[in-house]
Every structure is written in structure tokens, then in C-alpha cells.
């Protein structure tokens, strides 16, 4: 899988342009890292795939075999971790950080949960565009990860109009 991540990068081996004036920046497809924990989060991310049409997409989740089940390629697996399991945090942060450095996405999008928040936070430092789509399961308030994502998300979405209004998020629609 690592080789796939490298090969998609290999086509654009030139260093990432820092100024918009360089023509190479306009011709290559937008690179999107789409990341979500296994389960409902991942399935919601899969529902958003038409939004990445024409982009060069790398998928990331926490369960081996899951991307293949959805024909999501290329893909990588990142360590799972939730807020009750802080000991694995450093490993997850390092893994996601390393993937971001090799893939260099222009956009990082996540539907949750903690691995997605970590990816958005690191991506923000690397000046990528960041999108948080809070899970439709959060019908009463934004998820814990979602609330933290506010500070690092360029586009911060709830899938419920009343939650979006209460939290100051944007609402476009919902997967269901």
C-alpha cells in the first residue's frame, strides 16, 4: 500500500510548488486524503466519494480489508485509537504524520473520529485545506472530535441543520 502511495506521488515527482505561478501546480489533479475510522464513519465517507471525482484520492481507515470491500484504492491502514485509549495516540499521530508527508495532500477530509481529527490537525499545519463532516449520528450536538475539529477545519459541517445552527457550523445536506 505504501508503494501505491508513493507511485501516485511519483507521477508528480517535482517538489511541491510554493508559488501559484508555477504552471505544474495547475495541471496535476488535486490530491485528497479521505480518512475515517472503521464502521459508520467510514461508510459515511464512502457516501461522499462523488465529491472527489477527478481528484487523486488516498483513502485511510483503521481496519484491514475494509477499503477492498468498498473498492477504495489506493488505501492505507492507520492505527485505531479513541479518547479512552491514549497510550496508542503517539503511534497513531506518527503514522498519520508520516503518511501526510509522503502523500502531501491538498485537501484532507474526514467524517470522524479521532484519527480524522489528528489528520486534519496535522494537515492544517502543512497548510492543506481541511474538511470535517460530522457524523449523521450526532443528531443532538456535534461529536467530541467534531467540536475539536472546529479549530482546524476550513469547512466545518454538521449533517443536521439545527445542530449546525446551534454550533455555528455549516450545513449543506446529509448522506441519508
Amino acid at each position: 500500500m505504501l508503494s501505491l502511495a508513493f507511485s501516485s506521488r511519483g507521477k508528480h515527482a517535482e517538489p511541491r510548488p510554493e508559488r501559484p505561478a508555477k504552471p505544474a501546480a495547475r495541471t496535476r489533479p488535486t490530491r485528497v486524503l479521505a480518512i475515517a475510522s472503521a464502521g459508520g464513519h467510514w461508510q459515511q465517507l464512502m457516501e461522499l466519494r462523488p465529491a472527489f471525482e477527478g481528484c487523486d484520492v488516498l483513502f485511510a481507515t483503521t481496519l484491514k480489508g475494509l477499503p477492498q470491500e468498498f473498492d477504495a484504492a489506493p488505501s492505507i491502514i492507520v492505527p485505531d485509537c479513541n479518547r479512552n485509549d491514549v497510550l496508542r495516540m503517539p503511534w497513531m499521530v506518527l503514522t498519520i504524520g508520516a503518511r501526510l508527508l509522503t502523500y502531501r495532500p491538498d485537501v484532507v477530509i474526514s467524517t470522524g473520529a479521532l484519527p480524522g481529527l489528528v489528520a486534519l490537525t496535522l494537515a492544517k499545519v502543512m497548510r492543506a485545506q481541511t474538511i470535517w463532516v460530522d457524523s449523521i449520528a450526532n443528531a443532538e450536538e456535534m461529536s467530541m472530535s467534531g467540536k475539536h475539529a472546529r479549530r482546524v477545519a476550513d469547512l466545518w459541517l454538521s449533517q443536521w441543520p439545527h445542530v449546525a445552527e446551534a454550533e455555528g457550523a455549516d450545513y449543506f445536506g446529509a448522506i441519508l
Binding site: G40, I109, D154
Partner: protein, 179 residues
Amino acid sequence: MIFLTVGTQLAFPRLARAMNDYAAKHDEQVIAQVGGDDADLPNLDVRHMLPPDEFVDIFRRARVVVAHAGVGTILSARRYKRPLVIVPRRHALGEHRNDHQLATAQALVGLSGLHVAWEIEDLPKLLDGGALKSADGSTGSRHAALVDGIGQFIASGGKGMAPARTPGIVSQKVVSRAP
């Protein structure tokens, strides 16, 4: 065959017991992923960790899927076009940390292939009551609006050169949810 799935994280004894009782009175096999203790569930064919490919295989073969009101399960039922009966977890019964499953179920009433057992007593009636409809796999206008909005955001800012929030996107609050 009926597939009972309540996820792997939280047990849902009220639903597991109801399906165990149902299986005692019927010949039909009930494969179950109960997310916890299965000591008192002799009539269920309990599976613990199901790898994704096995989960999908069982899901596809099921006459009907019985589940909590989890988003993942609802999306799977649409994807694999299986009839789905959901029982929302209740906060008051200690089944989840809040009542979001009740809210999800209420918002999704009328979705094709989705049948809600608001009370556990409704469950056998739903399972026995003739052919349950499957999801038709269609997606609605809320889905299209979400995908379009995100797609436009990526197209306008994806190269990391556009301003973080373009006014056009922020003002684009579309469609209100039907009651």
C-alpha cells in the same frame, strides 16, 4: 436466515433477548453479532469478530437484518438492498450515552427498506408480517446537496491556494430537512 447486528462496541441485551425468544419459536436461523455477553442466548448463532468480507456475506444472504439504529447498518442495508428492521437504543434504559439513535430513527422514517420497531414488542410482528421491503438503493436530495457542496469547496480551494472559506460556499446553506 436473519442477521442480528448491534455492532461490536456496546451490548444491546434488550434486543438480543428479544431475538433469542423469537428464534426459540421459529425454525429460521438467527446469526448474531451481539457486542457482548452471549451466555443466555442459546438460540442465536453468535459470532464474535466478523471480518469485513464475512460480515458482507452474511448481510447479503439474510432475509432481513435486525439492528440498532446505527448509521453504518442503515447504509449497509441500502448498499446491499436488504430489508432492515431497527430498534433504537434508549438512553433511559442505559443502552447508549444519549438518545441520538431515537433522533436518527425519527428522522429516517419513510426511507425505503427501513422498518422501525419503536417498542421491542413490535419486533416479532414486523418479522412475521409478510415480505419486508428492501432498500431501493436510491439517494435523496440531501445527499446530492452535501456532495455538491463539498465538491465545489474542493474545486475552488483544493490546490491550497484559494482562501479558506470562499463567500460563495458559506452562503450556500441549502435545503432544509423535511420534518
